[in-house]
Symmetry: C2
Subunit: 295 residues, 2 copies
């Protein structure tokens, strides 16, 4: 007898592909499923950005994690999705699944973290839902805005583009930084103001996986210069490529723009901006020949 296909066998990408194929949208939708945010026709010449991200106990945090940090992360991962489109976050709703025995103080502290992140990024916490659940679940949906001239999609990279990444990668979970990271809103806004980006994505699942996504979305491949991947201290190349939860930004820009941005960043972008490779025509479907040294 044929056993039915399981979610674990197709993976998140496979699942999203299946879902995407089945969905039709109307003219109010500029970009639907498959980017960091949906892009919608918005108020007075602006686009609306709409996204959601769920954190599940034992997958994204532990019951013993400081609840302020869990709250910060729950909002910050969503703010990072807005940053990855070049936008500004505006409003969020928070759905909670809570075991009945959860201390009220835990929820108070969770909200302290949510409020802290909200204040820092100008987000209004405007509603949500609370529910009984066996495990702690926090789902945040976020609404943002972006000027149509400054929105950057995951698709849009062109052959010859340079690949740039903010900050340094690796060790985010081990160091606890995955709970306290600063979403790159300011950096993304500055970069889309200073130069023209062809594509952008935030690094949630690791440079290797997210670069693949950016390339696949653009129908292209990439040559990665492994020696140039900016790593946190004590982090192996493998860790920097695969661990994830960095929430840095990866972008593709035409060479002239990239050079200009790199020069500008040297003096103005505290987190740093690093050239790590190039976008190339896809060769036989291979999207990520990692470890390539000179190009």
């Amino acid at each position: 007898m044929k056993r039915s296909l399981r979610v674990s066998q197709v993976g998140e990408e496979g699942l999203i592909e299946r879902i995407k194929r089945s969905i039709r949208t109307d003219s109010g939708v500029i970009r639907g499923i498959g980017d960091d945010c949906a892009v919608l026709k918005g108020p007075s010449g602006r686009h609306l950005l709409f996204a959601s991200d769920m954190l599940v106990e034992r997958v994204h945090f532990l019951r013993s994690s400081p609840p302020e940090k869990v709250g910060w992360k729950a909002l910050a991962v969503n703010v990072s999705d807005i940053a990855a489109m070049g936008g500004l976050p505006r409003h969020a709703v928070v759905s909670l699944g809570l075991p009945p025995q959860t201390p009220v103080a835990w929820v108070d502290r969770l909200y302290r973290g949510l409020r802290r992140c909200a204040r820092r990024f100008g987000v209004n916490l405007v509603g949500g839902d609370t529910n009984r659940s066996d495990r702690l679940v926090i789902d945040v949906a976020i609404l943002g805005e972006v000027e149509p001239s400054r929105v950057v999609y995951r698709a849009g990279a062109r052959a010859g583009d340079w690949l740039l990444v903010t900050g340094r990668l690796g060790g985010a979970v081990r160091s606890g930084r995955h709970l306290t990271f600063i979403p790159r809103v300011r950096e993304a806004r500055a970069l889309t103001q200073k130069g023209r980006l062809h594509a952008m994505i935030d690094l949630s699942d690791g440079l290797s996986a997210d670069l693949s996504r950016l390339c696949r979305a653009s129908g292209l491949g990439a040559l990665l210069d492994a020696s140039r991947v900016p790593r946190r201290r004590g982090v192996s190349l493998r860790a920097a490529l695969t661990e994830g939860e960095d929430f840095e930004l990866l972008m593709a820009a035409p060479p002239r723009e990239a050079r200009r941005l790199l020069r500008w960043a040297k003096w103005h972008l505290r987190c740093g901006l690093h050239e790590i490779g190039r976008v190339v025509p896809r060769r036989g479907g291979s999207v990520l020949p990692a470890g390539f040294r000179h190009f």
Copy 2:
């Protein structure tokens, strides 16, 4: 030693009150936490409505529930929140928590239900998130629109208003209707076009609890005429008042408007519209003297 306060002891209302008190919002927010939706300044003279609702396995549905129906419900409860503000639903994002062993066919069937509800109510499914989780969790966030002249809040009832309810109450879980109900968008739109409503809420937790909420939000009380509460066949008064998951609409309207709406509804509102009591000045904090017969 003092044991710390648990979520089960303060309840959903208590939790929301705590959260609400701690939140500040900016001028882009017309109504924040505490209504069926947040109301935000929106495109070209329209308000945006923003809400989310989470369904958790074993609380809101069973693993054995038909996934199409679970999908329908996951979106329909959100559409109902938009209806309760007098608005039209527009876009939704779907966050899933899935045990790795979930059959892909389950997700396909879930999305069949989501798409069916989306098509029926003109909603674009534009994104979301999928995650590993021990239990099935589905969180939908919804975006809607409403003309500022037609938005109806939970607060706003006045002493002397008549209380009206759509449809018939009770038995929603037992009959399975909690998975297949039709959110009252069309009815709410017709009612806000035909007349002036002072307050509205959708009945998710039972007439008794939700009438209390509407009254508390308006700082008033209610006299409920128990004999007039419209019940489904074979449903006791107690069940009609307390079972919940009806997703009918409860509203308060000034007497003249209420009479006009009741006359109009007799010929034009197939689900029916029923007068069930009055809004009164609050007496000693008692908000719901149920069982009152004549008034």
